[in-house]
């Protein structure tokens, strides 16, 4: 057990690519926590996807021993928090588990939208914040301007910002000293009943569920029987330890300390982020405040391209869900796509990460249907129904009004692209809340319907700003609007997987765009195919895919019989794998590409 005054717990707040992981690596390396030969870039990002995308999905912790200039030995606990708003609640819990933050800003880039979102979380958690200017060795670094921006935009004092280059190691000792001297020590009562926060958890094939905890009060030892206060589960502790960043067993954790436990917990689902862990026999009186079960906000259907792969997809989804309690799924059948799953995600990034992992780690080709948000249907009989899937939309005569979720989006953009960004936001039914300048960058804040953002807003934003905009959002609640279900009919048959909820005023444009896209995406058939968008029974857009005019082998004589027959039989077998809808075969790619708009 470490003396409270010699503990410092902190997180690092940064925008993607501003150097958070490199700084973490450098702190670990410079304190000798990891032997030189074991160093690899981005030690804390365990998953391939985390490393590739430069984002953190699960919280990681590392315990660093640091002999400070005052002659004392300190224990520094770094929690590497998830860096994306999709994981906002998880971020907030990680933030609650530490007392201070390093705010890392790239001195060549300045403050970005994500920096803001995360730093506000840190401020909300009452953190002491130490600004760190990174990449000062680069010619493009503008330390004074960026420091000023931190003060203007974020409103914290940047005069004592630590100037570093995480890449070359410049300034790292100053960061370590700043952590010890400028961040507060944790508080806690060794003698009180055990109270610890469940910061995050993950599934390990050998150990079962590994739970990351922060002890607030009391002591926890191997063999203790613990209780999860929200989920009610009780477990004997098998292992207790800390990350350096490899797991290292220890006998006891006391107040202010961060470490892990394993306790024969089978599913990540049994461990809820933010839950309070206490002793079964002598529990604490009150659980920690702020616990929220995670709520998916974006839904989509995942179907195997090859319907024979359904069982493999089920296995894969079940395995993934073991390690991700925030991801929900239930079986779904679609007339167009057969058996699949309706899945709920914390946000778009979460959706992409899960889909990538299914395709990559489990080698399953997937069809992803249009992402949808949760609509609140206020029925005429006074009840409220949550609509996760446009295909389930009830008859309008029973619906009084519909509410949709809205977000507050913060976008930072160089001013030459501001016009395009404003147009994009207006086109997506946005309401401008704020527009300010910080140097030559504009910060725009928009109130936007989430359903206009879930699909390709971020792609469009990147494309109109040539990648220079940064974007972040938070949910702000529900609002009534004139929403309708738009169906797509291919050859006069509705294709449920292509149904979308749209605002009535946007329906014609959306419908036209989808019909035009589908006309390109569906191959010609032996007959002409009408492609229509309709609201209720009314067609609002129509395209016609002309019939195939010629598909015949020019030469077929005696020597060709075997080969040509085999070719036709093979083509026939290939057709069976396509998704047949009525008499029309729709290629997999059409389901997602039909929704991409080039506005």
């Amino acid at each position: 057990m470490t003396d409270l005054k010699n503990i410092r717990n902190f997180s690092i707040v940064a925008h993607i690519d501003h150097g958070k992981s490199t700084l973490a690596d450098r702190l670990i390396q410079m304190t000798g926590t990891v032997a030189e030969r074991d160093m690899k870039a981005q030690l804390l990002d365990a998953m391939d996807i985390e490393r590739e995308r430069g984002i953190t999905i699960k919280a990681n912790t590392v315990r660093i021993d640091y002999p400070a200039k005052d002659g004392q030995h300190y224990v520094l606990n770094l929690i590497d928090t998830p860096g994306h708003v999709d994981f906002g609640y998880e971020v907030s819990r990680s933030m609650q588990a530490v007392e201070g933050s390093l705010l890392v800003v790239d001195a060549t880039q300045g403050v970005e939208a994500q920096t803001l979102a995360n730093v506000y979380q840190a401020i909300e958690a009452d953190h002491e914040i130490v600004p760190v200017l990174n990449k000062i060795d680069l010619p493009a670094a503008d330390v004074d301007r960026v420091a000023e921006q931190i003060e203007d935009v974020i409103g914290i004092d940047a005069t004592d910002a630590v100037q570093i280059s995480a890449k070359t190691g410049i300034g790292i000792p100053d960061v370590l000293e700043a952590i010890v001297t400028r961040l507060p020590a944790p508080e806690g009562d060794t003698e009180a009943p055990l109270k610890a926060m469940l910061v995050d958890s993950y599934y390990d094939a050998y150990l079962g569920v590994v739970v990351i905890i922060r002890v607030i009060d009391g002591k926890i030892r191997k063999g203790d029987r613990i209780r999860m206060m929200k989920t009610g589960g009780t477990y004997p502790i098998d292992r207790l330890g800390v990350f350096r960043p490899k797991m290292e067993n220890i006998d006891e954790l006391g107040p202010g300390e961060i470490g892990f436990i394993t306790a024969s917990i089978k599913q990540v689902r049994d461990t809820r982020v933010g839950d309070t862990i206490t002793h079964e026999r002598k529990p604490c009186a009150e659980p920690l405040p702020g616990f929220k079960p995670s709520q998916p906000v974006v839904f989509c259907g995942l179907f195997p391209v090859d319907s024979a792969e359904f069982e493999n997809l089920r296995d894969a989804i079940e395995k993934l869900a073991l390690n991700d309690a925030s991801f929900s799924y239930e079986m779904e059948t679609s007339a167009a796509l057969g058996f699949g799953f309706r899945c709920g995600f914390l946000g778009l990034l979460h959706l992409e990460v899960i889909r990538d992992r299914l395709e990559r780690e489990y080698d399953i080709d997937l069809i992803t249907t249009a992402p949808s948000v949760i609509y609140h249907l206020h029925m005429k009989d006074g009840t409220t129904v949550e609509l996760h899937n446009p295909a389930d939309m009830p008859d309008l005569t029973y619906v009084d009004h519909i509410e949709e979720p809205r977000i507050k989006a913060t976008i930072l953009v160089p001013d030459e692209y501001l016009g395009d960004v404003l147009k994009l936001c207006q086109d997506r039914r946005g309401v401008q809340l704020d527009l300010t300048y910080a140097g030559n960058r504009a910060m725009v804040v928009y109130d936007l319907p989430l359903n206009e953002v879930v699909f390709d807003f971020y792609d469009r934003l990147k494309s109109v700003t040539k990648g220079y905009a940064s974007f972040d959002y938070q949910m702000i609640g529900y609002q009534q609007d004139f929403l309708v279900k738009m169906q797509i009919l291919v050859n006069d048959e509705p294709v449920d997987a292509l149904s979308v909820m749209v605002h009535r005023d946007r329906a014609e444009a959306r419908g036209r765009a989808m019909c035009e896209k589908l006309k390109e995406l569906i191959p010609r058939h032996m007959f002409k195919i009408p492609i229509q968008a309709a609201i209720g029974g009314r067609v609002i857009a129509r395209e016609t895919l002309a019939a195939m005019r010629k598909d015949v082998t020019a030469k077929c004589y005696g020597g060709d019989a075997t080969r040509k027959r085999k070719l036709l039989e093979k083509q026939k077998a290939g057709k069976k794998k396509m998704r047949q809808f009525g008499k029309v075969e729709i290629p997999q790619s059409a389901f997602i590409n039909a929704l991409k708009m080039d506005d």
Binding site: V552, A554, C556, Y557, G558, G559, A561, L568, E569, Q571
Partner: protein, 387 residues
Amino acid sequence: MTEDWRNGGFGLYIHWPFCQAKCPYCDFNSHVAATIDQSRWQAAYLSEIRRLAALTPGRVLNSVFFGGGTPSLMDPDVVHAIMDEIRACWPTANDLETTLEANPSSVEAGRFRGYAQAGVNRVSMGFQALNNDDLRRLGRLHTVEEAFAAYDTARAHFDRVSFDLIYARQDQTPDAWRAELSTALSMGIDHLSAYQLTIEAGTAFGDRYDRGKLRGLPDDDTAADMYFITQELCERAGLPAYEVSNHAKHGAESKHNLIYWRYGDYGGIGPGAHGRLTLNGTRMATETPLFPTKWLEMVENSAFSDFKTIAIEPTEQAAEYLMMGLRKSTGISQNRFASIGGAPLKTNVINDLRDLDLIALDQDRLRATPKGIAVLNAVIRELLPDG
């Protein structure tokens, strides 16, 4: 019960695998050789004819076809010896058709008299195009002027003369094709094969196409236009299509090719030749080694290890009958399809295709409409039983 092949007749295909040059669009089994020992080849062909005759004794032979390669490079004496052997081996039909594929060059025209004396009564000439620039692009060694002269010579020696044209060539417009085809039809021909240029894998054009270097090919819609122009002009000239790419005056159809499309029996002789032979009541697919010298040596040594004879499943036979038969304007017999494969065509599919005006029924006959023939591959894929 009568064996099914009798509905289509019996023919003999003889493959001569050599060419003076390889055409860039051609994916046939053809080779360029510096010297060819024609007497050695003659002996091998005769030996194969005798072997085949022993398997099919007493059958009436309806047709012989010399294909290639370029069979007009064969010495007329070799053709003569082969024809003598054939007549000695099988009873031949009174109207035996003997076709030889010929290049329309002056050198080859010089051999026409000899071929006629050997018994060849029909030639099929590889014109391919009626302008010299395009002939060069297609890798052809003859000129238009030579082709016309060779055609006149052929008319003097053979009862029936046909020629081939290729359309949808690089930079060809529908109007240019219309003009070219009109010229061809004004020559008083009674048979014409008009093929859409098909880019085949493994050919020089195929390689160029894959590298994006084969420019100016008409797009699919333009090629379809050219196909329909072909139908229209040939029909008007009294040469309606009796098969996808073949047009003839009534009675001038190629008897030999009709054996394939009627799913009759045919023996395949020569390197890489395929056959369909009903032996002891079972329809077999036969295939010989592709490479000329290998085939030659194996025949000479009576070592037939690489000569394949494989029984064709009834459902596969039915699929072949369907695929070949629907190419003809007269289509197929539904009863015959059912009796070959053991199951009839599916009524719901037939009805769907009829609704789309892609096929038509006339009692037992089922045929593709002109619109249906243009998309025949799709029609066949629909009609094929699920595998």
